[in-house]
Amino acid sequence: MTLRSPVVLDTEVIVTGVPQSRRRRQLRRTAESYAFLSPTIILLFVLMIIPIVMVIGYSLQDRAIIGKNHEFVGLDNYVSVLTNPDFWNATSNTVIFTVVSVVAHLIIGLGFALMLNSTLIGAVPRAIFRGLYVLPWLFTVAVIAVLWRMLLAPNGVINFLLNSDIEWLASPQLALGTVTFINIWAGYPFFMVSLLAGLQGIPSDLYEAAVVDGAGPVQRFWNVTVPQLRPIIVSLVLLDLIWTSQQFALIWMTTGGGPINVTEVLSTFTYKLAFAKYDFSQAATSAVLVLLMSMVLAVFYVRHQKARD
């Protein structure tokens, strides 16, 4: 008996009974697949690709949107934004804010995940604590900003409990740290939940083998847990870096980029250019620069995902 490659029956063949040429069948199959994808592709195109291309276009024009005569000025806007010291101040604040937030998210998230995964607590306390630890994630950014502004007000609850009158959000020295703290509080549950899922996926025989080999708890952590969690950790860190660097609402609603400009980050810098100075060209330029910086991270993320496959 000869081996024949299986023929997938084409819908058109079944319906009309007329066999089609291989090339025509191939084309139809491809067209069908893309037709099924088309609603999503069209939506993505209209809501993402077109606005991004428009913004890139604005960054190459002078007096975009508000001026009657747009002039194509090439890279002038890029030069003026990149030579603006406020841009670099915003960049350095963004880097500090993002890196500290992500590192703290990782440490706290991992710590809580290990606690929740431990065999030392019963099922009921575990469920209660899991609920409690996830709570910060359930609030939207606006609510978090308002709540923490009230808590940290000079006459607010925190100062009452600490019996002090520290200006947490209004002091130029403390404001960036305070805003970073609020962001850490708001974001650690994402890491915790993902890492907990990862921990529960680690086969227990690895731990048993480690114990047999004489590994203590710390060694087990570094040599079994962390390597097994590495793919998840890398994904989480890259995603969180991208998301935190774009954080706008939290900082805008707590300090507005102030006092003076100690909490100015790239997102508030771009917002002010667009909606306070109405300089949409420069704002588009700043936005494109942020896009480029995020794309570097995104490239690493995609390569990491592909490597896993």
Partner: protein
């Protein structure tokens, strides 16, 4: 490459080509768009749109009833009210300005006028007034850019000084201060009461920087000073320098409530309402709010203190509900009729009463001044002085306030001298003009 792979890369090429074509079309066509602000019927009936944030801030149904009166008096004109909160109205107007679809009549804030006027999207009301033979002597003020009026304030919310009578009397101050020396003295005595009580509160948040207008520049205007010269910035003159140094003095004396650098207007009102602050400069619009939140609070209204020895007219800061007409409107005459109606003596009185504000028509008298002592005092202060807000009509007014605020904060924090702060603010303002 397999056939599937060929199909894949072919599809990618098609998708890429489509993106390129679409983006070219988008970028080329984004400045187009015809106006579509109103519609007209064959029989001479017109419908005009009026975008504002007033209806939601007034008691239910009262504003619509007022507009219905206008429609009765002008058969053939129908008014479509497009209402929303203040912030979203501003965004909608900017979007409408960019796309050429602004509503015929627009509620305006003085801070937006210059930017809209320079874009050419709001009509020159001086011309419309001339076309309609309108007598503008009854208008309390008109906001002008380059000699043409672009906005008429319909009602004004003034910012006098509020004083907590209980705190002042506890501190041994018998009457609200009326000069700067008296104010500094009263503030120190109130702060000396200890606890979490302060003499004064100064909101300098950079997110909503109107504290610069209402709480800092108001000291300049209350003594008849100005931050402009011939319409250009003049922040280094004696009036501004003396007010800035005065506030620096108050800061160094420690009489200002903590949290200034990120405090917003609503936080200021809260501090005052909770009895933690002796004196504040605030909008009359908050009187009812304070009364509702803390009925036991005894407070009074007075004029902002002026420089010792100054006895001229005191400028009182104000925010107004202003009105303008869109340049792309096809029914400018009908639109201006609505403006005339809202500025007429009786309607203006009615609107001011509804809004608890002061009228933009010099002859109107709001109803509440008859019954309410506090409002009567405020109205007398308003009539005795002049509405002063030099930020209205300036380009990127909010950004100017923010730039000044940043330098001012830096000086108060001791990072630079007040003189340098004013000079830097002056330089950055000049760059915007």
């Amino acid at each position: 490459m397999t056939r599937a792979g060929q199909g894949h890369s072919k599809a990618l090429k098609i998708a890429g080509a489509m993106t390129a074509v679409a983006s070219v079309l988008m970028v080329a066509g984004c400045s187009g768009g015809s106006s579509d602000g109103a519609s007209g019927d064959a029989g001479g009936d017109v419908t005009i749109e009026f975008a504002q944030w007033w209806e939601p801030e007034l008691p239910d149904g009262e504003f619509r009833a007022l507009i219905d009166t206008f429609e009765d008096e002008n058969p053939g004109i129908t008014v479509d009210l497009v209402s929303g909160p203040y912030a979203s109205t501003k965004e909608q107007l900017f979007a409408g300005a960019a796309s050429g679809t602004m509503p015929d009549v627009v509620g305006l804030d003085g801070a937006w006028v210059n930017d809209f006027a320079s874009q050419g999207v709001i009509a020159n009301l001086t011309d419309l007034m001339a076309d309609a033979d309108y007598d503008d002597s009854q208008l309390a003020s008109q906001i002008q850019v380059d000699g043409g009026t672009y906005m008429i304030p319909v009602v004004n919310f003034v910012y006098p000084m509020f004083t907590n009578d209980d705190l002042l009397s506890q501190a041994g101050v018998s009457a609200p201060p009326s000069t700067r020396t008296e104010f500094a003295d009263a503030a120190q005595k109130v702060s000396a009461l200890g606890g979490d009580v302060s003499g004064w509160v100064l909101p300098l948040s950079l997110e909503a920087p109107n504290g610069v207008q209402n709480d800092v520049m108001s000291w300049v205007w209350a003594s008849g000073g100005s931050m402009l010269k011939d319409g250009q910035p003049d922040l280094t003159n004696d009036d501004v320098a003396s007010a800035a140094d005065y506030i620096q003095g108050l800061w160094d004396d420690g009489v200002i409530a903590s949290g200034s650098f990120t405090m917003k207007e609503q936080d200021k009102v809260e501090e005052f309402t909770n009895g933690r602050v002796g004196m504040m400069i605030d909008s009359l619009a908050h009187i009812n709010l304070i009364r509702e939140t803390n009925p036991d609070l005894k407070f009074s209204i007075s004029a902002i203190p002026a420089d010792d020895g100054y006895d001229g007219e005191r400028g009182i800061p104000y925010a107004s509900w202003g009105i303008g007409v869109a340049e792309n409107s096809e029914h400018k005459d009908a639109a201006f009729k609505l403006v005339q109606f809202l500025m007429s003596e009786d309607t203006n009185s009615e609107l001011s009463t509804m809004a608890n504000a002061f009228p933009g028509n010099t002859e109107s008298v709001p109803g509440f001044v008859e019954d309410d002592e506090l409002f009567k005092t405020a109205f007398d202060i308003y009539k005795a002085g002049y509405p002063a807000n030099e930020f209205t009509g300036l380009p990127v007014a909010e950004e100017l306030m923010r730039q000044f605020g940043e330098q001012f904060q830096s000086a108060l924090d001791g990072q630079q001298s007040m003189e340098d702060a004013l000079k830097k603010a002056q330089d950055s303002w000049v760059a915007e003009f």
